[in-house]
Amino acid sequence: MTIEKNLNGAELNVKVIGRLDTTTAPQLEAEFKGNINGVEKLVLDFAELEYLSSAGLRVILAAQKVMNKQGEMIIKNVNDTINEIFEVTGFIDILTIE
């Protein structure tokens, strides 16, 4: 999995490329832990995300909880499969998906 970050003032754009599963989720978690402070808008770009498992979902949920206090988190460019996962797990109500 590859992570591309772009900090624009208080806006952090994070693009996740590849698979977000049990082995790669910790990598994203570490990424958020370090860089999320002081960010008012967190944008997650899932255009090139191939695969998402529950492990990844938990990391996203944690990030959502933090951003709820600091500002907002938006997830964009979600494909059908990933969208389906958000739906059946009920995450679709918790996350802001564009």
Partner: protein, 363 residues
């Protein structure tokens, strides 16, 4: 008509027939199918003693042909054989090929042999080739002549050893048509073949050969539509299988996924299905089941893909305490897994040291 008892054939490196017991009745048309190297050809070649059994006995009628005293040549005159490589006699023309054995072995007069031979040639549609030589004929024509040659001896049973395997696809039909006619006429036939449709159409009995014997024996409907035993099923469904045994919680997950991906690609499994399979395994296997297992455990993962039906299924077997994965508290994982599956089934089992069995049909 033919009784085969405890037939065993050993070679130096391999034993294709371990213990064969079958009874063949007059009028049977038997298709013999199975993977390569399972002794299909060996079986019929033992029946006319082209291969000598290592042990066991074969009775043709009341005669024990495996006995040393038996005059096998006389027995063979009552059995015809058609070979994959035709094996016509190159130094004789077609009609001579057909006349030779009846004249030499049955004492038929030249005139009778000629008349009957021409009649047979007409039956297989090659009367106009009577004076050609084998090397002037196509494969399909040669095989039809070979059949006529076998018929000329008026045999009680004809053995076919992969009669169309060496033919161009365009010629397979003409030979199969001839064999079908023979079946219709009520002749006793045994046909080793890879052509499943043909095997099903023509036979009243099918032998699926595997594990050194007749693994399953039934009617075409039974074998092709309702195979009972595992290997038969796999064969019939052209099932592709990939298995993996996990014994450590630190197993190579990435490697597993890569291999699974490769298995899928190899068998032309759609990409989405591969993802779903990976997802189901990750959610059920890694997220739900793995945490529940003891430190020393066995977790078997098997994927079966049927190219015919284009369905992929996963079987998880694990030991330790009984744990129905469907009752896992990991709701997110379950939800994702259920979403990717047609069905998830759980039973307790006692097979091979496992205690839990989960079968998933993946979308």
């Amino acid at each position: 008509m033919i009784k085969i008892n405890h037939l065993r054939k050993e070679y130096a490196n391999v034993t294709p027939l371990k213990d064969v017991n079958v009874h063949i009745h007059r009028g049977d048309v038997i298709s013999i199918i199975g993977p390569s190297g399972t002794g299909k050809s060996t079986l019929i070649r033992c029946i006319n003693m082209l291969e000598t059994p290592t042990s066991g006995s074969i009775f043709v009628g009341n005669e024990c042909i495996t006995d040393k005293k038996c005059n096998i040549n006389k027995i063979r005159q009552k059995m015809g054989m058609v070979f994959q490589s035709f094996n016509l006699f190159n130094h004789m023309n077609i009609i001579e090929n057909i006349m030779a054995a009846p004249m030499d072995l049955l004492g038929k007069s030249k005139q009778d042999a000629y008349d009957d031979g021409m009649e047979l040639l007409r039956t297989v549609g090659l009367a106009d080739k009577a004076f050609n030589y084998p090397d002037e004929l196509s494969g399909g024509q040669k095989q039809r002549v070979a059949i006529a040659r076998a018929l000329a001896m008026e045999p009680e049973i004809i053995l076919f050893d992969e009669p169309t395997s060496a033919l161009d696809p365009t010629m397979v039909g003409e030979v199969q048509a001839v064999i079908k006619e023979l079946a219709k006429k009520g002749l006793t036939l045994m046909i080793v073949t890879h052509e499943m449709r043909f095997a099903r159409e023509i036979a009243n009995r099918v032998f699926y050969m595997d594990e050194g014997g007749v693994y399953e024996d039934g009617t075409p409907e039974e074998i092709f539509d309702n195979p009972k035993r595992e290997k038969t099923i796999r064969f019939i469904k052209h099932l592709k299988v990939w298995e993996n045994l996990i014994t450590s919680k630190d197993f190579d997950f990435i490697g597993f996924n890569t291999s699974l991906e490769e298995f899928g690609r190899r068998n032309q499994v759609p990409q989405k299905t591969i993802y779903r399979a990976q997802s189901v395994f990750e959610e059920l296997g890694v997220q739900c089941i793995l945490p529940e297992l003891d430190n020393e455990f066995k977790l078997s993962v098997a994927f079966e893909y049927s190219q015919e039906e284009e369905t992929l299924s996963m079987t998880l077997k694990y030991d330790g305490k009984h744990f129905d994965v469907r009752e896992s508290t990991n709701m997110i994982s379950l939800a994702i897994a259920k979403n990717a599956s047609e069905s998830i089934e759980y039973t307790q089992t006692q097979e091979d040291g496992f205690t839990n069995l989960v079968t998933v049909r993946i979308k």
